[in-house]
């Protein structure tokens, strides 16, 4: 009985692989992606055409959206594509942010070479993520969620740890300077930040896209769909799972490092449980196991956080309800609704609707 089930599952995986479109061709970058990237690169220059619409502040908001998108992508690599649930990715975001902040703060020549904080944060978070992935190997589903949940709750305390105070600045955190545009380019700080983050994001998406469409990505997804079947097919599941944990942490850590540069400030209490929830909702709203969905998720989380106040006012004054509708409440309600209505997230929902419309 045991063997037949395994065989059936392996068969199902094989069939799925066979019925999927041939990998190399079908997974080429779609034209609309190039269009979006091109628009993103031209966007700040539109200031001269439509000065009313493109402002430094709006570029900064888009920058934070891109940072969130990178972080959500990191979580998606782990949860969406490898099936390991993490409720504590805020921890890796924090490690990345603090790696960058401490480097910028403590090394005198670092602010001129701020871009070095990105690889440093990536390496640091990869190591931390890999190490956390080792015990996580033995955990599945609910248990892994539990362990990472504990991690998410403990992070702010860990950052305040007395021995680290010299580096992390304790409760006060670290105040930084925003990176300034190099080579005397005629860009404002926010414009330069926008390009800096955009280039990194495109590079990271390119890497993720390539990981996922190749042998490694298929192995990751096979583990998600049926670990034992993947094991029998010769995939080193332990190795893949820990490395995926590391890569995922590195992505989210890079987002953290970017946010340290963008906001020019880090403090322990901004890396609490709420941050991990934000990443989770980014994942669920955008779509589990969807690259484009990660961007939607990133945009969405920033939108909700930025418009929470307006939303709260709307509920109170216009709807006349005696509630403060916080971003947290919106997250909670959406998490519930999405699980019923669009379990694949907004991106997945749109694709489904489109397929249904086409018949």
């Amino acid at each position: 009985m045991a063997t037949t089930e395994t065989a059936a599952a392996a068969d199902a995986v094989a069939r799925q692989a066979a019925t999927a479109e041939p990998p190399a061709r079908a997974a080429a970058v779609k034209p609309w992606v190039w269009a979006v990237v091109a628009v993103a690169f031209v966007l700040p220059l539109l200031k001269f055409v439509i000065p009313g619409v493109i402002s430094d502040y709006r570029l900064f908001v888009i920058s934070t959206m891109m940072i969130a998108a990178i972080a959500v992508l990191g979580l998606n690599l782990l949860t969406g594509f490898n099936g390991q649930i993490s409720l504590g990715h805020g921890a890796f975001y924090a490690v990345g942010a603090y790696t960058a902040a401490v480097m910028l703060d403590k090394i005198s020549w670092m602010p001129d070479y701020y871009f070095l904080t990105i690889p440093a944060a990536a390496v640091m978070c990869f190591v931390v993520g890999y190490l956390f992935g080792l015990p996580a190997l033995r955990l599945e589903g609910h248990y892994l969620a539990l362990a990472t949940f504990a991690l998410a709750l403990a992070v702010p305390q860990l950052l305040k740890y007395k021995w680290l105070e010299g580096l992390t600045g304790g409760v006060q955190g670290v105040v930084l300077l925003k990176p300034s545009p190099p080579f005397g380019l005629p860009l404002s700080e926010d414009q330069w930040l926008y390009y800096y983050i955009l280039v990194i994001m495109v590079a990271l998406y390119f890497i993720a896209f390539n990981i996922l469409r190749g042998r490694n990505g298929r192995a990751m997804m096979a583990i998600r769909d049926h670990q034992m079947a993947a094991d029998t097919m010769g995939i080193d599941t332990a190795q893949y799972k820990t490395v995926t944990f590391g890569i995922s942490a590195a992505y989210t850590g890079i987002a953290g490092a970017l946010s340290a540069s963008a906001i020019a400030y880090v403090a322990p209490d901004s890396f609490g449980f709420f941050l991990s929830i934000s990443l989770l909702i980014g994942l669920v709203v955008g779509g589990v196991a969807s690259l484009a969905g990660s961007i939607i998720g990133g945009v969405f989380t920033v939108l909700v956080q930025n418009s929470a106040q307006a939303l709260s006012k709307f509920v109170k004054n216009d709807l006349g309800l005696p509630f403060d509708l916080s971003a947290y409440a919106v997250y909670g309600i959406l998490l519930l609704i999405l699980m019923y209505v669009m379990p694949l997230g907004i991106a997945g929902g749109i694709v489904m609707a489109w397929r249904r419309l086409r018949g």
Binding site: A2, E5, T6, T79, I85, L87, P135, R138, L139, G141, H142, Y143, A145, L146, A147, F149, A150, L151, L153, A154, Q157, L158, K160, Y161, K162, W163, M228, F273, I277, L280, V284, V288, P322, F323, D324, L325, S326, Y328, A329, Y331, G332, I333, L334, L335, L336, L338, M339, Y340, P343
Partner: protein, 301 residues
């Protein structure tokens, strides 16, 4: 030495709270295999209900029992309305729904009652309760109440037909259904009971940690640690685990303090409470996932 004794006893009092929450977690876990991340926030919400009733003029004990009854109905409703449709959903969906519940409970409590910290009264008389110098009146009362609740639950599960049916439904749903047990309703009942036990924990701990929407965060984490340490599949073990982590929590702080005093090196203190819980959780999960007294689950493939 006396100080150490004091720490241990007050650890037991904290442990009583953790034991209640751990038991609530286990009740849901054994019947559905779900880890209820919203348990702490549900308990917090129940505590606010009790507080509101007291604001309206009720005495402590009436408010306490009404809050428990309301929580029971609330827990039952949550199971029937929110979790029932997701019966066969993947783990991620369930976890996400729990996190959603957590966020909703937290933000509703925050918007209705505000995030300001409130005082919560203690029902226990100051002079006649407690053992002088060893344990305060409230802590003593908490231990007593917990023991009463745990005994009642034990009697319920061990000696009543309904308790037996609930255990049957948790252990082997298919056979239980064939024997005429309404498994669905048993699960819902389990949720109701879990919410009620959580309400007890919330109303008991609120005097110590003060009432605010985030009060249960650390407690939930310790309850997880306790449940895992004792064995999340074993109610008795989870209760014992809850008491153990309560004592452990205080001992760690005590030892850290002692080390700082005698060597002048700060290693660990009250500021690292959550980290200690995290370490317990991860250690137990990796070294002995079934806990000290849990049943080892053999998975059939």
């Amino acid at each position: 030495m006396e100080q150490l004794m004091q720490q241990v006893v007050s650890g037991l009092a904290n442990g009583a709270i953790y034991a209640c929450v751990a038991l609530a977690l286990v009740m849901i876990f054994v019947s559905t295999d779900h880890i209820n991340f919203a348990q702490g926030e549900m308990a917090m919400f129940s505590t606010y209900i009790a507080w509101q009733l007291m604001q309206w003029g009720a005495g402590f004990w009436p408010a306490f029992f009404i809050a428990i009854a309301v929580s029971f109905v609330g827990g039952l409703t949550i199971e029937r309305v929110i979790l029932r449709p997701l019966h066969t959903a993947p783990v991620l969906s369930i976890v996400v729904v729990f996190i959603g519940l957590l966020a909703i409970c937290n933000s509703i409590a925050g918007s209705v009652w505000s995030y300001l910290i409130k005082e919560f009264p203690s029902p226990f008389p100051k002079d006649t309760f407690g053992l002088a110098g060893l344990i305060g009146p409230h802590q003593f009362g908490v231990v007593l109440v917990t023991i009463v609740v745990l005994s009642l639950l034990f009697v319920f599960f061990r000696f009543t037909p309904l308790g037996l049916a609930m255990r049957a439904a948790a252990q082997n749903p298919v056979s239980a259904r064939l024997a005429g047990v309404r498994v669905d309703w048993m699960l819902a009942l389990g949720w109701g009971l879990a919410a009620a036990v959580g309400a007890v924990a919330g109303t008991m701990v609120a005097h110590i940690v003060y009432l605010d929407p985030n009060m249960m965060g650390g407690i939930l984490l310790y309850a997880f640690a306790g449940a895992l340490l004792g064995g999340i599949s074993n109610p008795g073990g989870a209760v014992l685990g809850g008491f153990m982590v309560g004592v452990l929590e205080n001992l760690v702080a005590f030892i850290g303090n002692a080390i700082e005093k005698s060597f002048g090196v700060y290693i660990i203190g009250n500021g690292e409470k959550l980290t200690v819980a995290l370490i317990i959780v991860i250690t137990v999960l990796t070294v002995k996932p079934s806990g000290l007294f849990g049943r080892v689950v053999v998975k059939r493939v």
